[in-house]
């Protein structure tokens, strides 16, 4: 257990509504990531952060924004959810070596 908590774990929302997923870590690690996992696509990187207020885009960043105001929290926001954003979202952190990624348990989001 790498001390990563995602919330909510499950959410159903309507198209067009804003949604925020929260990732909280207790490890004080610098790097945090948001991935989405879909059948046939594996895990795809949405955004990542390399420090407080320092973020960058991943492979599939369109429609998503992130914020990191504290080391321990990394928020993923869908400003206006669409059905194509129905997915499982994983938060992850890296250890101090920067090599190994530790994942949270996932957040299941359904957009209806």
């Amino acid at each position: 257990d790498a001390g990563i908590t995602q919330s909510p774990r499950h959410k159903v929302t309507e198209t067009g509504t804003p949604v925020t997923l929260r990732c909280h870590q207790t490890e004080n690690h610098r790097y945090m990531y948001w991935y989405r996992q879909d059948p046939g696509h594996g895990l795809r990187l949405i955004h990542y952060s390399y420090g407080v207020k320092d973020t960058d885009k991943g492979e599939v960043s369109d429609g998503y924004s992130v914020s990191r105001s504290k080391t321990e929290d990394f928020l993923l926001t869908l400003e206006s959810a669409t059905s194509s954003q129905t997915s499982v979202y994983f938060c992850a952190i890296t250890d101090n070596s920067g090599n190994t990624i530790y994942f949270g348990e996932g957040s299941w989001l359904t957009v209806v």
Binding site: Y31, Y33, Y35, G40, H41, G42, L43, R44, L45, Y48, Y50, D56, G58, E59, F90, A92, G98, N99, T100, I101, Y102, F103, G104, E105, G106
Partner: protein, 110 residues
């Protein structure tokens, strides 16, 4: 995308048999990692192999890396039903992030 591709997509074997899955990638890497995911859970790191290494062992796991072919293989020896999971390779695009493949679903029957 510089995503890795695992092969096969799905694999079914009996307990006690060996399971081999392969990963191909597109660009030069510093290291390659393998992760495991049980159904409904997050991914768990299994093993890391650096670009200057050719083979690495960890318990019943054996990983090989061929940088000339841009490929890696994960061998699980003497499989157990508890090994049933999806297995992913991941390559470092740069020092900031890992890119994952699409995974191999392994089913081990008792």
């Amino acid at each position: 995308s510089q995503q890795g591709e695992e092969d096969p997509q799905a694999l079914s074997i009996q307990e006690g048999e060996n399971a081999t899955m392969n990963c191909s990638y597109k660009t030069s890497i510093n290291n390659l990692q393998w992760y495991r995911q049980n159904s409904g859970r997050g991914l768990v790191h299994l093993i890391l192999i650096r670009s200057n290494e050719r083979e690495k062992h960890s318990g019943r796991l054996r990983v090989t890396l061929d940088t000339s072919k841009k490929s890696s293989s994960l061998l699980i020896t003497a499989s157990r039903a508890a090994d049933t999971a999806s297995y992913f390779c991941a390559t470092d695009v740069n020092t900031d992030k890992l890119i994952f493949g699409t995974g191999t679903r392994l089913q081990v029957f008792p």
